[in-house]
Subunit: 581 residues, 2 copies
């Protein structure tokens, strides 16, 4: 399959195809989306205006036989942060795009008539826009149902937005269908669903009929490296055992015991109810009800942290909510009801909302007295407001920062406008460095210091002390940017950090795939390149070191139970980008 | 009267007095508020958090016999812009404070119990906080009525916030009573009312019994200079004739004819209905109904642009709405009903809202389809939502930027988060430089280029061309910062720009007042100092040149009738602060 770049103009409603420019030849995933944004989107563009572009790109190893290579990067200038954004999703879209030869799909400009919604149909030969008024206003589940009704379920992968994206809400996500064609895998963070909505694009239908796994230049070498890689993932205790058995929510008890579980809108570091909603409990509930554990969110996944969560009657409700979702709608709001949290997960997926942003937002709303802490029914009603687009829903759907502004709250957990995830930086200092310095705003996946601070993967750096945290986060952020470019799931990092052969296998697979001769330094260089592209873009958009800070109260309000504050100094944070020229 | 600094701690509920530090001896007004913020408020403080401080300061010439020296500066870190803020108000507070020897009043920290509201009582001897639950939730008019009932109307000046400030809304203003003890003179911009509200401070009562006009060191020299100054104001056609006769709304026809009246949320540059709501019409309506023209908003004003506007039955409704208010609630929303606009002016004053921010916000809301353009009744209902603190009201009361975010609008007229005022920079390029570069965010008073671009005061710079606009705005911003420090009304600038003796008189009055020997260069140096303090503060808060830009669409969407875009280049804008080291 020839490499393709598909360019969709939503003003002229035309689709064109371009050859892959030489300068993007080595790029994929986040490297591709960030490079195109830097090249084509003015840093001061209005995020929901015609100058912004929405870019989808599978990774360098997407569509190959490599384990866990099916992550999709979605990029744009973020309406939430005002900076560059890559939001990363599982599901089938990336594998399918890659097999179809699509290295990037660029959506630009806006329709003349903002009331119309369109679906982009893409197959191996062509791509075209069709007006689909029947999808307007639908949630992701209904939209996907209608699309499957139209296109069938064979060779189908779908990308959709829900009501939140159509409304242009800053917490809006973009949904990708999983292997069961359910819209459960989201490019969640940064409001990219609002960018898609602003362009009138409700859905993308990929039909990969006639495609097959991408063929490497050197098949034998690829097979050897891919086996080595998969074996390392299966051997590591986190990726081979913890994640398949308990899913990401294996962290619930771990982070709670570490005193780093943000509780009651980041006012405490542990939650009495955590054990009731832990990964262990979730595991048993899922199996009792005939759900699934050890489920892969995309084909080729060997870690299988996904799961399928049924309701009390044994009917499908949602995918197994992730740790971050269970935290955000759970301890952060003092809610310890797993079924209520699963309902909210389903609602977030359906409305098309980032579960982290929404849980953090509801925490802020509870702080403002809109709803009581611990009131699960009240929290569900708040999500209904978002779904219905009421004024209150518009506030909440605009995320934690705007909600704090509208209700005069002075205790809002956000960096660069994006809500902080499920790890309090006062107890886990390394993740605070990532929150502060990431080009993405408050984000944990950009440099998952939990690995080394808490799980003792890749060594150990004391989570309560400032020493070594900047270096830890920097190394992780560089490595993660490279993994995101490769299209690999972030969880492969557990094996990569502990097992040299897992890291070797990655560049060996890329070499075998493309006939290259990369070494470990080239991987690091790629990660640095990606971060530098993003950092420069953000600088041009007006970001400075002053934006690389946690909220002031994290420096002054000690967090129980350790009663520590965030203590990495500004000067240390300002050394983060010392690898840039 | 000895110079006093009053420091009010809202956490401990204590008031202390300090001598004026030597380093602030030459400061007043905006120089004082900005210097104290720079010294005492961390640039990354949460604006509604305990670290922010709210500072009130009369000008260097406040309380003297100088004409028009009664402007009050109110400063804080702005919750609307995130940068330093000085909002400037008429009314009686500054004259009274100055006569009482109060050079600055600093309000810091926050009460333990956020449900309580307090009044600060200040007389010539002491100051104390009293809890005043009876004021909670009241609009400014009712609050002032209650306070007059308690304290009487002799020697009384009041500073209050309405519901908006109590709710912490980003468009909340701080009201100062005028000579008739009506809360009509507002420190409007930047949400300082929310800062006051966050501190639980509902009102300040000043009792100036026993004070008199401040005595100059050299009485004779002062008298001579003050006479020269007043004479220049009375002789100039703008300050001696246009403003007293027609008020600031004399500009309605002028700016409309210049094609620079932002119409329909800044989509057009002239408004068919402008002549129906012009200063000339307003003048006749006021006189027919027994209102007042040529009214001074504070004692010592010789320009008297204020007026009193009665309703159809001849009963007091509000002060004569200013040009910017009539524009914001008028042409910007396609409303040409003067009485409806006057009702909104009254509501803004009562709820405690910046009229510019609110009109711009309603324009954005109309663009989002919340209410039809031209629907005056609908617009009034939107203000009722703000007053009542409904979710929609919370959105609108958070200003144009947040409203645009919540409703997905990509055409929002704001710079640094603050709504743009009544002059479209595509037709009046000089004011665009001020909007872009001012430390205050989108603001016209910081460097009123209209004077030279349109009114041909201080020379003429072609409003449609980029040439000379940066220099014009720079000179005006420097001069204005000095006037704001002096406590002089910005309108004295018309005379100062055209009449050398008016400028001389200013430093001659300061010299005579304090026994100094300043020359013209010292005035300019003071203005530069103030701007440099503010610029450095904003830099530390994370602002860069990238923030000194107009919205992108002002560079790409030509404005009828001239069909021009904003054409001052980024490189020219970046030269603005070339006077700083």
């Amino acid at each position: 399959m020839k490499d393709r770049i598909i360019r969709v103009n939503m003003k002229t409603l035309t689709v064109t195809e371009e050859a892959l420019p030489e300068k993007y030849a080595a790029y994929g995933g986040r490297a591709m989306t960030s490079a195109i944004i830097a090249d084509e989107v003015p840093p001061l563009a209005v995020p929901l205006g015609p100058e912004n572009k929405l870019i989808f790109a599978p990774g360098i190893l997407g569509g190959t036989a490599s384990a866990n290579s099916g992550r999709l990067s979605v990029g744009a200038k973020s309406p939430l942060t005002g900076g560059i954004k890559e939001a990363n999703a599982g599901g089938q879209a990336a594998q399918v795009m890659a097999r179809m030869g699509i290295r990037a799909l660029i959506v630009e400009d806006k329709p003349e008539d903002p009331s119309k919604v369109y679906t982009l149909e893409v197959d191996t030969e062509s791509a075209k826009l069709v007006e689909t008024p029947e999808l307007k206003g639908l949630g992701n589940y209904d939209a996907v149902d209608k699309l499957i009704g139209k296109y069938g379920d064979k060779h189908t992968a779908l990308v959709t937005i829900g009501m939140a994206g159509e409304m242009g809400l800053l917490a809006a996500s973009i949904a990708c269908t999983d292997r069961e064609l359910r819209p459960t895998r989201h490019a969640g963070r940064g409001g990219l669903g609002a960018v898609m909505g602003s362009k009138g694009l409700k859905a993308i239908y990929f039909n990969d009929e006639g495609t097959k796994t991408r063929e490497p230049v050197d098949k034998e070498a690829f097979k050897t490296a891919a086996r080595k890689f998969a074996a390392a993932l299966l051997e590591h205790p986190v990726t081979g055992e913890g994640l398949p058995t308990y899913g990401t929510n294996v962290l619930q008890n771990v982070i709670n015991e570490a005193g780093g579980l943000p509780t009651k809108n980041f006012r405490e570091g542990s939650f009495d109810g955590a054990s009731k909603i832990s990964g262990e409990v979730q595991h048993d509930v899922i199996l009792e009800r005939g759900g699934k554990v050890a489920h892969g969110c995309h084909s080729g996944c060997v870690i299988r942290c996904s799961r399928i969560y049924n309701d009390k009657d044994g009917n499908y409700l949602t995918k197994g909510p992730e740790y971050e979702t269970i935290w955000s709608h759970g301890g952060n709001c003092l809610i310890d009801d797993l079924d209520a949290i699963a309902v909210m997960d389903r609602m977030d997926d359906d409305i098309g909302l980032d579960t982290i942003e929404m849980g953090a937002t509801i925490g802020v709303a509870m702080d403002a007295g809109i709803c009581d802490f611990g009131d699960a029914e009240g929290a569900i009603k708040l999500l209904e407001e978002v779904r219905d687009g009421t004024p209150l829903g518009r506030i909440l759907g605009s995320g934690a920062k705007v909600t704090g502004q509208c209700f005069g709250v002075d205790h809002v957990p956000e960096v660069k406008g994006q809500a902080l995830p499920a790890y309090d930086p006062r107890s886990i200092q390394g993740i605070g460095v990532t929150y502060a310095t990431s080009t993405m705003g408050g984000d944990h996946t950009a440099g998952y210091a939990i690995a080394t601070n808490i799980l003792k993967v890749g060594g150990f750096v004391d989570p309560l002390k400032p020493e070594g945290q900047v270096e830890l986060s920097r190394n992780l952020q560089i490595a993660t940017a490279a993994l995101d470019a490769a299209g690999l799931c972030i969880f492969v990092a557990f094996a990569v950090l502990d097992k040299p052969e897992a890291f070797e296998a990655i560049y060996e697979m890329i070499n075998a795939m493309y006939g290259l001769n990369l070494g470990p330094d080239d991987v690091t260089a790629l990660g640095k390149d990606v971060l530098a592209i993003e950092r420069r873009y953000n600088e041009a958009a007006g970001f400075t070191n002053a934006d690389d800070r946690l909220p002031r109260w994290m420096y002054t309000e000690p967090l129980p139970p350790h009663n520590t504050v965030f203590s990495v100094t500004d000067a240390e944070l300002d050394e983060f980008y010392n690898f840039m020229d």
